[in-house]
Amino acid sequence: MSSRAGPPPLLAVDQLSCLFGGLVAVDQVSLQVQPGEIFGLLGPNGAGKTTLFNLISGITRPSSGAVHWKGMAITGAPSHRVAALGLARTFQNLRLFSSLSCLDNVRVGLHRHSRQPRLQALLGTRAFEQREAELRLEAWQLLESMGIAELADRPSTSLSYGQRRRLEIARALACRPELLLLDEPAAGMNTTEKGELAELIHRIRADYRIRAAHSLTVLIIEHHVPLMMELCDRLAVLNFGRRIALGTPLEVRRDPAVIEAYLGSAPQEDS
């Protein structure tokens, strides 16, 4: 791994496999995500895309293979450690905190960055309250960047579907990640919202370039092929747990294996 010149990829998945009983969900998948790129994962339902996310983010243990983060092995590391290293994710089926307000949902994302001296927290000193206010402001600003700041104090359960998706992204961004894993963020959105999503992702990355110390790399699972073709720098296509294609959108679009397995005659249509 370290024998080649240049910095290691941000995320490297190496022959990763996951077996559930007799079912092979992920079959020796390898891919590398370079810093700063938008990397897409395509594939039909059940191809193993979400399982791959779960393997990377520590929710499921792989049966074999390895995951490396900036050259460091994180295979099988627990979710909170993966998050601490700089990976944040959203979920296909939305996992918001139902008893918390929108603002509090995002504040949870700030968990690792909101530590305060114990005595000050216990006594509720002015310094403590000031820092709390700063953190609250940061959370509120994240809501604002997602366009849902006016919902800050509402219970997260009272939001529309599209708003909830954006809330989850806001929470993930609160972790100040270097790599953002988005699991079908456009699911359930109409065409207009899908278009807005691409713009949203570009805007988030632009924001990062200005404010954060590092750029934001994105690894995204999606079904909507035109969206992915337009959005992603590179793509990998999974089918039945195996990687059947890897490359730029143009390369993948022309790959016969992909056409056969998934795209059908879709390359002819443009959105």
């Binding site: 559930f20 979400t50 779960n54 499921t60 979920f91 296909q92 089926n93």
Partner: protein
């Protein structure tokens, strides 16, 4: 009472009861994924019902003081009848403690709480109605069988051998039913994968009720066997069995039928092997096993590690 044979018989007898109780837990856990904390109370009810059906009389302390059925059945009739009655009660527990929550898709934690409540109500109702004193075996229970038998030079209590026989028969019938019959296999299907089972046309609600009914039947039989072979020391004695059976359940592995039986025998024999001077600590054996299992092998002897979908 000191021969190894006697100790083994004691151990296996106790173990058989633990196994039956643990099996009841396992069945409900298989189809619903939660532990029915009213199980120990149903077990206690089975013991009292069997006692009454065997012709026993209620003491003077409860509201139904002096209650006495006008007949006295032999054990081979009393046990199944008690079992059927407890099966019905178990269905009542399902309807009151589990179904309302299932409709609300409540989290597993809440089922523990409501079933605890159901169990507490049952046991305390028993106490109010039948009083808190202990009862021992009515003399007509065994019918015409002698009280002790001679085997390999030792005097063994017939009730224990009866217990073993009944337990073995129940276990055999249960296995045959689970593997061989439509309903048994349907029950297993629901426990493996509820969604697919429903897609295949299996009514999971009906299967859940079936699971509770069989579980209640097992609890009733187990309670009846204890009332047959030992005495009932009061309405709370079943709580102890119910709690220890949780240790047996964890040792065997949640959801494993052979595991429950195996673990029951292990715990029963371990308890029997405790020497007389430490006999007060016998009750702690099951829990010691429990902590040991959680420390070393949480899925138990024969349990399957559970996978959850994200």
């Amino acid at each position: 009472m000191d021969t190894l044979l006697q100790i083994l018989i004691n151990g296996i007898s106790t173990g058989a009861v633990y196994g039956l109780v643990a099996l009841g837990y396992t069945l409900v856990f298989s189809v619903l994924g939660v532990i029915n904390f009213a199980h120990g109370a149903v077990f206690t009810l089975g013991a009292y019902l069997t006692y009454l059906l065997l012709g026993g009389a209620v003491g003077a302390n409860g509201l139904l003081a002096g209650l006495h059925l006008p007949f006295a059945l032999p054990f081979w009739a009393a046990l199944p009848i008690a079992g059927l009655l407890t099966a019905l009660v178990s269905l009542g527990v399902e309807a009151s403690a589990f179904r309302p929550l299932r409709r609300q898709q409540a989290e597993p934690l809440l089922y523990l709480i409501t079933s605890l409540g159901a169990g507490v109500i049952l046991v305390n109702l028993l106490q109010i109605l039948l009083g808190a004193e202990g009862y021992s075996l009515p003399t007509t229970a065994l019918g015409s069988l002698p009280t002790t038998l001679s085997l390999a030079g030792a005097q063994l209590r017939t009730v224990q051998l009866v217990l073993l026989l009944v337990a073995a028969v129940v276990l055999a019938v249960l296995s045959v039913w689970l593997e061989g019959s439509r309903s048994g296999k349907a029950l297993q299907a629901v426990s493996e994968d509820p969604t697919t089972a429903r897609l295949l046309g299996i009514d999971s609600d009906a299967m859940i009720r079936l699971g509770f009914a069989v579980s209640g039947f097992l609890a009733g039989i187990a309670g009846g066997l204890v009332s047959l072979s030992l005495s009932i020391s009061g309405p709370y004695f079943g709580i102890s069995y119910g709690l220890k059976a949780l240790g047996v359940l964890v040792l065997g592995g949640l959801g494993s039928v052979p595991g429950a039986v195996l673990a029951g025998l292990i715990v029963g024999c371990a308890e029997a092997l405790v020497p007389a001077e430490w006999s007060g600590y016998r009750d702690a054996i099951a829990y010691a096993f429990l902590f040991g299992v959680l420390l070393l092998r949480p899925q138990g002897l024969l349990g399957r590690p559970q996978i959850s979908k994200v």
